[in-house]
């Protein structure tokens, strides 16, 4: 048997966290060692995930690197494997982690040991979410992520951290418990929770709608979609920089990933029936949260609302069930993971200096931090979706898919692109340009080497993916096509079933 590479990638951060637990953190050297071990663990894990990419067979739509061990019951096994969609989300996770550690290098001094342990455990769990091919295993990882994130926001967060972290925890938990009931129901009906077996299973049509809803509520909270998005701005604002990065970069993607991996293959009819609902919610999210973003006084809150809007494009794209739409959705997830992380990291840079996120405090930053201003400009443009950046590709593909299916949806969603330019450019103007009104801003120093190292890879990747999106799209193509084929087959069956029912009523 081959080396169990996926389990290794899941376990490396756990091993790292165990090592950290053994380090005595009382003195400065110990603290430094903790950070170094954490950083090395994350880098090693990133390299291991690159190994996945290199060995990935992009022509196959089958799951790869499969591992399967007996676990809870005969048909509830530890089953992991990846396809093109999960591959990039795993790489995104392992890619973001080293930067999270680096971003916390100097600004976290309180309980650094617990902090790094929490982040490494979170990394293991997040990778587990993207590998799991069994519903119970998925649920396990999906829910377990709450524990470290709860602590990260609660212990190292800002002033209103307790409120924010409780809201985050309880929102997500209440969303996902219904999914648990649905999973158990599926197990009772089919006798298995293995996704690879279940994707061929024909659930009763009316039951499928309920199951779809139970899963959807959970993913919609995580995504987050309108109207259950209100936890996100609070959580983002209060979380430490690295927490925001992980939240925006990875945790939000679990919702979209869940829809692609579970909702659509398992419940195609449910997905079909509720398509309009998703479109309406997505469009509301895109327009409504963009308007809210314009009115924000807090930089992080503004980016948080813009995240909700961007995730609206993802759901819209996925539910067009066209090649462009779904690939655009996946691409948008990865690109948003990079862009929003980069934006949060940039905010972290000035937050570390002035300890405030209020837009009004800043102004004229460009005079003191020209290099920073340039970086921030690129990220802002990517957030708007300027051609040449990865943000453009995602939005363009999802809109293309939407135009094919529903003109109204596409029309309203496109206005979101304009609105995103409004809030993002206005934010940039208020923070970077203008006269220096605050004495504190006068004292700002430009990026240091560590910050430079953190931000530069994001610029390169955002532009690389913007110019050459095929890097991602080629690898996701097979999985996407497979997804759509299965979906359209199920829908055909459903429609012929409807026709025959109508005929019976007619006669």
């Amino acid at each position: 048997m081959d080396w169990p590479i996926l389990s290794t990638i899941i376990l490396i951060p756990l091993l790292g966290s165990l090592t950290i637990l053994l380090i005595n953190s009382e003195d400065e050297i110990g603290k430094r060692n903790i950070k170094i071990v954490a950083l090395y663990t994350c880098v090693v894990n990133f390299l291991a995930s690159i190994f996945l990419w290199v060995n990935f067979d992009k022509l196959s739509s089958e799951f790869q690197f499969i591992e399967r061990y007996a676990w809870l019951a005969e048909n509830i096994t530890y089953h992991v494997g990846i396809d093109g969609i999960s591959l990039f989300l795993i790489i995104l996770t392992t890619f973001l982690m080293p930067f999270c550690i680096l971003a916390s290098w100097t600004n976290v001094s309180n309980k650094i040991k617990d902090y790094m342990v929490a982040f490494l455990i979170l990394e293991s769990l997040m990778i587990g979410v993207f590998c799991a091919l069994d519903l119970v295993v998925f649920y396990l990882f999906f829910e377990a992520c709450l524990i470290p994130m709860f602590l990260i926001i609660g212990v190292w967060g800002g002033a209103r951290r307790v409120y924010a972290t409780f809201k985050f925890f309880l929102y997500t938990l209440s969303g996902s418990v219904l999914m648990l009931i649905a999973i158990i129901y599926i197990y009772i009906v089919t006798g298995t929770t293995d996704v690879t077996i279940l994707s061929g299973y024909d659930f009763n049509y009316s039951i499928q709608n309920w199951l779809w809803l139970a899963f959807f509520i959970s993913f919609a909270v995580k995504m987050p979609m309108f109207p259950v998005h209100t936890w996100l701005p609070d959580a983002h604002v209060e979380a430490p920089t690295a927490g925001s990065v992980i939240l925006a970069g990875v945790l939000l993607k679990m919702g979209g990933y869940g829809i692609l991996r579970f909702s659509i293959p398992l419940f195609p009819i449910g997905s079909f029936v509720f398509t309009d609902l998703v479109f309406v919610l997505s469009v509301i999210a895109i327009i409504y949260t963009s308007f809210i973003a314009i009115a924000q006084e807090d930089i992080k809150k503004l980016i948080a609302y813009s995240s909700v809007a961007h995730m609206g494009f993802v759901t819209m794209g996925i539910f067009t069930f066209t090649d462009q739409g779904i690939q655009g959705g996946v691409f948008q997830m990865i690109s948003h993971g990079l862009i929003s992380s980069a934006l949060f990291l940039s905010v972290g840079v000035i937050y570390d200096r002035l300890h405030t996120r209020e837009i009004a405090v800043y102004g004229g930053v460009v005079k003191k931090m020209p290099i920073y201003a340039a970086f921030f400009l690129i990220f802002t443009m990517a957030n708007i979706g300027l051609p040449g950046t990865s943000g453009f590709v995602g939005e363009f593909l999802t809109l293309l898919g939407a135009f094919k299916v529903n003109l109204y949806v596409a029309f309203f969603a496109t206005t979101g692109v304009i609105l995103s330019a409004a809030y993002a450019l206005w934010l940039y103007k208020r923070v970077i340009f203008g006269l220096i009104t605050n004495d504190e801003v006068e004292k700002l120093l430009d990026l240091n080497l560590r910050e430079y190292i953190i931000l530069l890879p994001f610029v390169l990747l955002i532009i690389l993916f913007g110019v050459y999106p095929n890097m991602v799209i080629d690898l996701t193509a097979a999985s996407t096509t497979n997804l759509i084929d299965n979906y359209s087959y199920a829908i055909e069956q459903y429609q012929s079933h409807l026709v025959s029912v109508n005929l019976e009523i007619g006669t």
């Binding site: 809870l72 396990l140 609660g154 212990v155 209440s174 158990i184």
Partner: protein, 476 residues
């Protein structure tokens, strides 16, 4: 007469004799060291009995003319009861010394109550059922008020006694109705005579269940729980929270499944109400509590409601889920109670949630352990509490009781709120209080129980099969 017919109840007989023997020692040799000797002897004898049961030396079968039955199910529950009482005795040794309450009667009372519980889970007719419940309860009433210099402890004992006596009356009335309408006290004969449908028997079943509900503190018979939990010494509270509940649930399962399978629809509706009310009331009432023991009282009410879901279906899966739930609940709540016992400031034991604020800074290991236990009680995967809930929900959904399952998960979301509040106090708040060092013995027990909670997911099948074989014996 062949002496061998008593071997299935040998554990009970042994513990009874030991407790009498220890009583004599205690009465005649009253000095400082006696307590330790008696306690060590008691722990040793319980360990021997536990080993006998575990090694399979206790034969299965009926004794006393069919009044008591020993099968895998009762042996499983006896194991749990013994484990919890051994742990409680070990911890009491340290705790009672600390609060200056070294009374040897304490140990005798626990032993007698354990005998009562073991007979409860073995009882096979209405007489042994009632007697064992009384044998189990009477020592507990005294235990609750054993700290007789504290008005709270006395109050809790009195309250427990008065309400317990009332519930016993109700139970006895229900049992007499069942006997009157079926003409038998044996479960299997009751089951076969039940076929004729009668209103009287329904009243009997309802009264009996009300009596049982009191014992597991299910809503609306829960009123005594918070006061008794708060007033009793913490080790007694920990004992209350675990052992009698396991015994009572085992009893309920056996009575309902072997004596009244034909009335399932009727008792099912009663249990559903008990379950829903317990889960919701337990979850909502705990939110406002400041006292840790009161909070855990409400949390245990909520957990009992959740566990009851497993009985409702009357199926193998249900009983298995219940058995597993009891096992995991035992591990989690004992560990949590012992952690509370272990934490003290200047020899004062902690009482309120605020007392542990900032624990994460002062004693990160204990803070981590308490958080793991609380997350587990809230049912967050991958901790053991999640699997307990998973199997119970499985049983409920299998019985097509979807709304019950939804109530269950919603109540666990609400409960998550107050568990998180404790974690918040430990981690997000600062405090200047320092804590006394924890004794090694307590530490070992806490670590062991927490390790089971934390690592349960690695090999869940061990425990599940254990619970499964036990439950299967009810369905032969």
């Amino acid at each position: 007469m062949n002496i061998l017919i008593f071997t299935p109840v040998l554990p009970e007989i042994a513990i009874t004799i030991v407790s009498m023997f220890l009583l004599i020692i205690g009465v005649f040799k009253k000095n400082e060291k006696t307590y330790t000797t008696i306690s060590n002897l008691a722990i040793l004898s319980l360990l021997v009995v536990l080993f006998l049961i575990f090694s399979g030396s206790v034969p299965k079968g009926v004794s006393f003319g069919g009044s008591l039955i020993t099968d895998s199910f009762s042996l499983y529950l006896k194991t749990l009861i013994l484990i919890s009482s051994i742990i409680i005795l070990v911890v009491s040794n340290i705790y009672l010394r600390n609060i200056n309450l070294l009374k040897f009667e304490y140990i005798i009372l626990i032993l007698l109550s354990v005998v009562g519980m073991m007979i409860m889970v073995s009882s096979n007719d209405l007489i042994s059922l009632y007697l064992s419940i009384e044998l189990q309860s009477l020592p507990l009433y005294v235990l609750a008020s054993i700290r007789n210099k504290s008005s709270k402890s006395t109050e809790s004992g009195l309250k427990y006694f008065v309400l317990g006596a009332l519930s016993s009356c109700i139970l006895l009335y229900g049992l007499s109705l069942i006997y009157g309408y079926t003409g038998s006290i044996y479960y299997n004969e009751i089951a076969s005579n039940l076929s004729e449908y009668d209103v009287g028997i329904l009243i009997g079943v309802a009264f009996t269940l009300a009596g049982f509900a009191f014992k597991i503190s299910a809503v609306p018979f829960h009123m005594w729980t918070p006061d008794v939990y708060e007033g009793s010494p913490t080790t007694v509270t920990a004992f209350f929270a675990v052992a009698p509940k396991i015994a009572a649930l085992g009893l309920i399962v056996r009575v309902l499944i072997t004596a009244m399978p034909t009335l399932m629809e009727d008792w099912q509706s009663i249990l559903i109400l008990l379950s829903i009310f317990s889960m919701l009331l337990g979850a909502f009432s705990a939110i406002g509590q400041r006292n840790l023991k009161r909070l855990l009282a409400y949390s245990s009410i909520s957990h009992m409601g959740f566990a009851l879901m497993g009985v409702i279906n009357g199926s193998f899966d249900g009983v298995r889920s219940l058995s597993l739930y009891m096992l995991i609940y035992l591990v989690m709540s004992l560990a949590l109670f012992i952690s509370i016992i272990a934490l003290k400031t200047n020899d004062e034991h902690i009482e309120n949630i605020e007392d542990i604020s900032g624990l994460a800074k002062i004693n990160p290991v204990m803070a981590l352990i308490i958080s793991i236990l609380l997350f587990s009680l809230a049912g967050i995967p991958p901790l053991a509490g999640f699997f307990a809930k998973f199997y119970v929900l499985y049983a409920a959904i299998d019985a097509k009781l979807y709304y019950l399952a939804i109530f269950g998960v919603l109540s666990s979301v609400i409960s998550a709120f107050y568990y998180l509040r404790i974690i918040k106090v430990m981690y997000f708040e600062e405090s200047a209080i320092s804590f006394d060092p924890i004794s090694k013995r307590l530490k070992t027990i806490i670590y062991l129980l927490t390790a089971i909670t934390l690592l349960f997911f690695l090999r869940p099948s061990i425990f599940i099969n254990f619970a499964g074989t036990a439950s299967a014996s009810l369905f032969i």
